[in-house]
Amino acid sequence: MKRRIYGLETEFGIIWTPDGPRKKTLTVQNVVMYLFREIVAGRMYPDVFLENGARFYQDIGCHPEYATPECDDVAELVAHDKAGERIITRLASNAERHMKNDGFHGKISIFKNNLDTPGNTYGCHENYLMERHVDFRQLASQLIPFFVTRQVFTGAGKIKPSHRGYYAISQRAEHIREEISIGTTTARGIINTRDEPHADREKYRRLHVIVGDSNMSEFSTFLKVGTTGIVLRMIEDNFIQQRFALRNPVKAIREISDDITCKHQIELQNGKRLSAVDLQWQYLECAKRYLAQAESDTTTAQIMARWEYVLTCLETDPMQLEREVDWVIKWKWLQTYLAKRGYDWDSPQVKHLDLKYHNVRQEESLYYTLERRAEVERIVRDTQIQHAEHFPPERTRAKFRGKFIKKVNEGKILCGVNWSYIQLYEPYQILYLSTDPFKPEFDEASRTIYSI
């Protein structure tokens, strides 16, 4: 399949738990300032690019956010997403040391999920660079049924009180209020219309997807982005002829989320009723036909095989995906633990363990306890993640950005960096623009920077 630029942005939840005799409290803002201290290097605002090409900054609502560098391979993206977790983990350990020196004893917890206890939400946004020529209405109409139903293998699982049905598939589903919208903090849509390609606008648009959950499972992240990339390619090539238009997509996304048997049928505009799994089969069958006439590659073949595998499992018994899909893994271990320890579903221990699943600090995390014991499927190796913490992807513009950042950090050179430009301040006063994210080097900029 043709190359595409992918990126993931994750907003993390963060909380400080004081200990010691005095239990000094700190606001989230203060904790976030400690977190950023070692990397902001005198900047006014916590917002920096890192030597692996990623961006790390403080987003709306005081959330630390990690945006991966541009990747053109989905498995590589998974490694970079995981690298973000490790970077923030390392920063948290260092922050705790600084805080201790300042008299604040305690622990920082960082969650890669989408909900706090009262139900405030924060997001994981996917980004896909797309061809500009696609008609937006057509794009939206073909994507909405896909986004409504893909949660059966991308959902991160949400606990609910026993009287409201115990458990739902998706954390974000209940926070989606519109079919199409520009909003990201209110009136969130299944399709978000933000369009900042950070590239040549005549050729590209950016699809900014805010409907998905944050995933701990590498397998879920891989399939979430991988299947979406394939569906987009079919839309760009005007290949999808079937019409899956839903009667009420916003209602459907909640109904699907609320049924962990995955049997619930949603209504199409033509009056037919199909389950989420049925609809996903139709997209998969279409993708098989599409790929039969396109050039194949290893990653695409892996995505297709896993897509078919999860749909086969979901059709018979979703619980078979207890090693692969976040919402099933979490459900299995919450159940097992409660049964063995005699806790009630509505006990605080369940809510606590739910949060712990999403804790990115490995020694504190249910997910990482399971990973350590080989209870979950992996997509990448630890060495790939370690590499991604320090080195940018090789085939995209992030490569140059990463190398540049390393160089200016070492030389303490003043510069401005963004996704599509690099600016050297006094005494150089040079601006380098890059409108082609597929191009790993800026020739002219490389010459300058390596001569400094």
Partner: protein
């Protein structure tokens, strides 16, 4: 690839063990050793989970309040 195979094998082993337990209601004699290993494994995993839940759950959960994000 070999680790994938091992995990698949292990998964099947767990599935089979669970099936045996739920169908028969008690461990099959022939599989006794395997079951024992499985139970020990599970017990030590649950002990690890106990450790990560060491702090006060009620207090922790109540305190987990964020401002909404995007």
């Amino acid at each position: 690839m070999s680790t994938e195979k091992q995990q698949e094998h292990r998964k099947r082993h767990i599935d089979e063990t669970e099936d045996t337990q739920s169908d028969v209601g008690q461990s099959d004699v022939g599989n006794g050793e395997m079951d024992e290993a499985f139970v020990e494994d599970l017990d030590s995993l649950l002990d690890e989970i106990d450790e990560i839940l060491e702090e006060d759950s009620q207090e922790f959960v109540e305190n987990y309040i964020q401002r909404g994000g995007q």
